[in-house]
Subunit: 328 residues, 2 copies
């Protein structure tokens, strides 16, 4: 069997996760890693695989079936996504919710002009959580959907704390409020405010001699990031941060409750994730969607797609016959 | 907007559930109900909709977009499925797992010869649970998947008890063993026997003067149905049965745990359902797949499909643009 040849663009947490996920999928192989840095300075885990400069990508046009775009959503993907999909099938985890329509349009146009498939916004949210919102709402037409995130590290919020004066290092956990989750699970369809749904726990390493009261105040009143939440600030040492907070767990819940029929029958649909490593799990989702991109491109499809457009069978290594016999 | 015109074949619990679900989907309308009984004796809930004999189906060929086949899997669907799909797009909830490959082949052949789409084995298991097994296994390639059912009524097991001598009426609940569910949720990937996973609770109305000890013994040792399980038998009156056991709740869990990367990172994916009414929920799933069948047929597709073959976006009333903006 010919393996699906994968390229990785960007070798950060997600890129490294994709590399490890490829090793767990026997129908795939890693062909090259592309970086904006000096390739000679980038050491990857897979032996015998080349690291190339991102500008040399086109020389690999016939050697790579799917490019995994592992850059950030803020500035990398809006430029790289439409550019690369002109020459390669692509998968990315674009997650700036508000800009998805615009990004989809740009990738779609470029993908069609180049004759490729680009599956955007793949991962768990957007991604598996989105799928579960869609399935649940299509089944229970009248009802309410709730998404809870955590307990897990929010990179954006951790970064925001690090910008506060007197802060040396910090990490922020988003924590779902248990009582709110239970109320949702009961099927009562409560109205919940931002504050009702999540807590924010901050672990902060202060600079020597910093005014701790002032730091705590600055964090708790930070608009958009913290002022709408109940926030706790705990000061710790750099060693404690390293020891107890260097993993990247995450997870969450999508819960829909709704009614059917005419006798008030209630139903609860819940999807939940508990992840030891957010980047490794995200990468594992990306990799199974690479299989779908490969198959769609082989079938002559082009353009931008999302998880909503992908028939589930395309994700699996198993044949349709196996799937029906073993999993249906 | 032209509504999707639905026909219901078979007016039992599922058929009635489909009728109620159609009323909750504004892009659909019920066109006719077909029955094997004398149509004049079948009173349906929707006003102004005809009840017709199943033999008069062909007269409605141009008036119905999708036929919902609400017959049983044992004897009805194996005959009706391939027959009706020659003239109509169909949805069914065929759930005899072992015979799915054969049924799929028969529906596929007939659907292709007639130029229609037949989506088989739709519901929650097979159906939403199957989808979750597939998604979870595609993401976490190395791991273990567990399906738990209940607490809910098993029709097949209730029927089996009713055939025991001295039993007037009975109902059987399948109950997941909480300790087993917790062990699975912990990510330990335990080996579980049939007995470890589920209990069977039987509520039995005995005939007057029946030998209760003998009934209990006969149930608990019944091969295939009960002998592999821890089973409880509780004798109750016909009134208690009616009062406390006339609803049809069900539900369950699909849990996959698996590892990614090289540092032993573990992940738990869980999908769960808690349903007040098994037939109404099943019917609600059938109805959103009717939308997909309608759209696929319009796009010129033919043949048998399962939930694995249906892109999620096809299930929703929302446009692709709305889905990306609101749910992704």
């Amino acid at each position: 069997m010919d393996k699906i040849r994968i390229g990785i663009v960007g070798y950060g947490n997600i890129g490294r996760g994709v590399e490890k996920a490829i090793a767990r999928n026997e129908d795939m192989e890693l062909t090259a890693v592309f970086t904006r840095r000096d390739p000679s300075g980038v050491k990857i885990a897979t032996e015998g695989v080349e690291v190339k400069h991102i500008d040399d990508m086109l020389s690999m046009k016939d050697k790579i079936d799917v490019m995994m775009l592992c850059g950030g959503s803020a500035t990398d993907l809006p430029v790289m996504g439409p550019q690369i999909v002109q020459n390669f099938n692509t998968i990315d985890s674009f997650d700036t919710h508000a800009r998805i329509p615009e990004y989809f349009a740009n990738v779609d146009k470029a993908a069609k002009s180049g004759g490729h498939v680009g599956i955007i916004s793949v991962g768990w949210d957007p991604g598996m959580f989105s799928l579960n919102r869609l399935y649940a709402e299509s089944i229970l037409v009248q009802g309410s959907t709730y998404t809870f995130w955590g307990k897990g590290v929010s990179q954006g919020h951790s970064d925001a704390i690090r910008r506060v004066e007197g802060v040396k290092n910090a990490i922020q956990y988003t924590v779902p409020v248990e009582d709110a989750v239970e109320r949702v699970r009961s099927g009562s369809e409560p109205q919940l405010t931002t504050r009702d749904k999540h807590l924010r726990e901050c672990y902060v390493v202060p600079e020597e001699g910093a005014d701790l009261k002032k730091i705590e105040e600055a964090i708790k009143t930070m608009p958009n990031y913290f002022d709408d939440y109940d926030t706790t600030v705990t000061f710790i040492t750099e060693e404690e941060l390293k020891e107890n907070h260097s993993k990247m767990p995450h997870g969450g819940f999508v819960i829909r409750s709704g009614e059917t029929g005419t006798d008030g029958s209630k139903h609860i649909i819940e999807y939940s994730l508990k992840l030891d490593s957010n980047p490794e799990f995200t990468a594992s989702v990306l990799v199974c969607y690479a299989r779908a991109a490969y198959r769609l491109a082989k079938a002559g499809e082009t353009g931008a797609k999302t998880v909503f457009d992908i028939a589930p069978a395309l994700l699996s290594m198993k044949t349709p016959e196996q799937l029906r016999a073993e999993l249906l």
